[in-house]
Amino acid sequence: MVWVRCHDCGELVFRSLSGPEVVVAHASDVVAQVIGVALIDSRFAPIRVRNGTQAMAVMLARRPAAIVLDVGLSDMMSFQLIEKIRAGELAGTKAILVASVFNKTAYKRRPETLYGADDYVEQHHIPDMLPKKLASLLNEPEPNLGRLDEAALQRLNDDESMPELSGRNRLQALARSIVADIALYHENEVHACVKSAEGTPLVSALDEGRRLLASMAIVDGDTDPIQEAFDELVRAMRGAMCPTETKGVAERARRQNRYVRAQDLWPDHPGAIAVLLDLLGDSHWRVRKAAVVAAARFSTDANLPSKLVDGLASRDNAGLRNACAEALVCLGRPVVAMLMETLPTQDADHRKFVVEALGLIGTAEARAALIAQLGDDDVNVRAAVAEALGHIGGTEAIEPLKAMLVSKDTELLHRVYILQALVSCGETIPFDEIQQWLGQRVLERQVLALLGRCADDRAIAPLLEGVVASSRETRAVGVCALAELLADLKGKDTGVVARTLAAGVAREAVLEALADPDDDVLKAAVSVLAATGDPGLAPTILLRCACRNVVEAGVRAVISMGSPVVKPLLEAFDSAPIEARVLFLEVIELVGDSISVPVLLEIAMGPDTRSSEAALRVVGKLAGVDVLPALMRVVREGVPEIAHVAAMSMCAIGRREADAVGDSVVANWMSGEVNPEWLVVLGGLSRDVDIEVIAGATHHRDPDVRCAAIDAARSYGTSFDEENVIMLLTDEHARVRASAARALGCYRSDTALAALLAASQDADPWVVAEAVLSLGGVGGDQAVRVLKDAAGSSVAPIAIAALKSLFRLNPPQLEAAVEKALAHADPEVVREAIAASVRLYPDRARELLGDSLRSRYWNVRAAAAEALVNRSMVLPVEQVGALLIAETEPLVQESLERLLRVAQEGE
């Protein structure tokens, strides 16, 4: 290889002197070098450029046979460069994308559309795959297989990307490259973003990208280069959808035409399958993409799978292969058997596609066939098999994988895949076996993950080292693994962890992991820190967990440190945001330390509702009678909602000290202090001695007091005077009548029945609803008659109450009532009817629920589907399939998918 200055563009390029010319557009010297070596070894003549602009210049000057380009060029989107090439005189140039695979070990879907390139290769497969792919695209003789040696792999791993740029430029270039990589593997999501304004489906991938960027460069807290790069990509793609330049009009018209055709292709169109296959093999990725989506609509067409499998074997159309593979994955389980039959094919690439598809579909049936393929002649197929097995999981795969792992012939990269597969399977490997892989940087992450589950205390030391590894990604794996190990070592001496994490870099690293955007990493960091037993960490842990979906893990970890956490939590209380304050109080409630009570009372009187509420609850749980005066003050002076919580807190204390609490409340009452909350407390205590006070209060002139009194009376059940309650059904305030109707539900007497029947005709719908609900407790023919009418009420709360009561009584009239309610205009009534339909004859219920699947309310559809699933009621597969395709609500789709599985199993 020689470096020469290109006389056309003046750039310094390297090139060899014979063979088809291939432009290598890559910003990284290391990667370009690896590509160069691989190409020269296979007798191609590489010309190296650094970016898209240079590439265009060189290509126009030299007309190379092909271009190998970085998916994340620094100056334009790779798809833009490809579009440029395809639009002009260079249209015939073959293009291969190099994916940097920003997270080298994550299980990746095969990118399907390649944004217009002919093929793609992952960075670590350059030596073994790139020359082969180029040769096949250019119809050159098959070159010798290269192999990636450890040194090259390590170089790629350590590649300090884009050192020639600095500051903001470098940051932007790195961000673009990461985003381009993400986009390659998440095309569906990117397309969703291009189509709509919301950018949510990619959040976690972009977060992963942010993390990666932060591990490669210093990112200023106020900027988000990843988001910027992503927005730029989306903007550029939107632009490409409606291009403004006039060149290539015909091509665009063709593409547009075929794109629309794909979007509108349905199985019942004449010759649909042939059209579909044609579109799947289109030269433009957007058309292929639309065709893959269309293929999912053909799920019930028996002819399609074999055609797609044939498509996988195509030798001259990599786009078709990719698209067929993706479509097969969409079809899922039904194609597994057919895919397995084609495994013995001669064509290694074909085998690789099949293996990948089987892995992505992920059903266990394929496991045995894949295990048999572990010894495949082709290194790439072997790697794919390992990945696929890792994805499918299961213990049967483990021994063969392990055997392959220790075999001398296994190459390094393959080991990474095998280890990763073992990690994904969830297998444990004894420490003695793992030990030999320690210290190999390339295998580091997988080894750490395996150490995490070996349940051997010798693994602590290497894991503590992993926690401070140089790459952030690896540190995160280390923290997760350490957490897992510590959980398994419960009861053993893990003091070394506490000592190591008491200070220094390891502590810093774990604290830093608390800010990791991945919830699992945060959870792991929390449990590792809890293992140090340092109560001073409690506020930090809870602050980090407060607004994340790991609240429970955080609380659990902190309470494991016991009551010493109370003091630091109270000290940090004032400066913490509300969400965290509430958590602090919940922890104090759970570790139970009555020393905190005076401070808690102060918080209870403070301005923030949620803290007051939580503080009062803790007081109720921990305090003794000495806090009664303070609590009574809150009842008297607090805003209504807090006064009520304080009353409930008094009830809680009353559970331990009924008389002390009850007597002081009665004393208040007797001294003329009328407050409905005192009745709440007395009701909560339900002491016999207080029944007279409560009965008296039912006649008080304040309707709020009368309501509170009846509600308190309810806790006495039938020992409270029935006549007294019935009297209140004549109260002039509807609220009071409603409370009385509710209280009457427990008296199963004729007088109660008569009163409730009368109340069910009340002018106020709430009184009616309560009466109807109570009738369900009393029963009898007359009640059922009223209930049946009420179930048809147009007032939703009445209809719902009636359905509940009928359900409870289960009379023969239930069926008619449910049928009627299922047609109710209010979805909540229909929901209730769906719940009640469990009492119907199954065939009838299935029929009715089947109709509800077509309701215009999403929650009715979801509930109907769930009910069918839970009662194992089988509907025809086609019916469910058709509904699923038409469904737009994700929540209903999930339920329908479950229903579809039930249907498939049923058939």
Binding site: V555, S575, T609, V645, W766, N859
Partner: protein
């Protein structure tokens, strides 16, 4: 949830969406699916108050309940973020005094100038405006009304009391604290003079009837409010703001909020200190 007896009720996805949508209809605040746990945690303490054992009953209460209005007040106290402080986004306030006010004064040579702080929380924002006006020669002698609204009754209580703690002063010049506050232990009492310059009122920005009470205004500050809204609620609110602003009036949003993708009714006024939105009208084309 592990937390405490009686609090173990969890929210199903369906309940979450129904409740989330009701909340959004009521006050515009929208919770993404990923924030279900937050809504669940914040509303859980309400269930024992009614003796409910499921969020479905709670949903029915706020959907049909006789006293659903009252319960929505409770919900509001739990779902709003009331974070605020004096002189927040100072560059924007500088734009207000140095550039916006002179334009408003020039545009309308007489009558009261009206400034509305929509979503004022505990009052720091309208009070900051009032303090700035106190020092602003250009409006000397000109009556300027400042009024603040919020949907949370609790924050309005604090706003009216004018009592603050250290947390409200994270970006306040000491000179202002010295001049306008009396310190009493941990609290700082705002001077009567400034307090009297600001009127507070309870208002739900999604409530068309209540909004009818608000007349034409010259400047609207609605900062860090619409970030919590969904697109539809934002659109509704912006249409209201458009109606309420006088031609050439200004709309000041928080620095992370913008009208891109929202509405084309307003024009962007690139001032020296900040970019703000403006309702097209007399003299507005800069």
């Amino acid at each position: 949830m592990i937390l405490g007896a009686g609090r173990a009720v969890s929210m199903t996805d369906e309940e979450f969406r129904l409740i989330r949508d009701l909340i959004c209809d009521f006050c515009g605040i929208y919770f993404e699916d990923s924030l279900k746990f937050l809504v669940e945690r914040r509303l859980q303490p309400r269930l024992p108050v009614f003796g409910f054992v499921s969020f479905r009953d709670y949903y029915r209460l706020i959907k049909y309940g006789r006293e659903c209005e009252r319960e929505f007040d409770e919900i509001v106290e739990r779902v709003t973020t009331n974070e605020t402080y004096f002189f927040r986004e100072a560059y924007q306030l500088r734009a207000f005094t140095d550039e916006i006010l002179p334009m408003v004064v020039a545009q309308r040579s007489e009558g009261r100038i009206r400034v509305w702080s929509a979503g004022c929380s505990t009052g720091e924002e309208p009070y900051s405006i009032a303090m700035l006006l106190d020092k602003c020669p250009i409006v000397a002698g000109r009556p300027v009304d400042v009024f603040g609204n919020d949907i949370s009754r609790k924050v309005l209580r604090t706003a009216r009391a004018g009592m603050y703690t250290q947390a409200s002063f994270r970006s306040t010049d000491n000179a202002y604290i010295k001049e306008y506050f009396h310190r009493d232990g941990r609290t700082y009492q705002l001077d009567e003079r400034i307090r009297n310059r600001v009127t507070f009122g309870h208002l739900n920005l999604m409530d068309e009837n209540a909004l009818a009470l608000i007349g034409k205004v010259d400047v609207i500050l609605c900062r860090n409010v619409i970030i919590y809204f969904n697109h539809a609620s934002r659109a509704r609110l912006l249409a209201t703001f458009y109606r309420k602003l006088r031609p050439g009036g200004f709309l000041l949003l928080g620095h992370s909020e913008s009208l891109v993708n929202e509405t084309k009714d307003f024009e962007l006024a690139p001032l020296t200190n900040d970019m703000v939105y403006r309702k097209p009208g007399e003299g507005s084309l800069l």
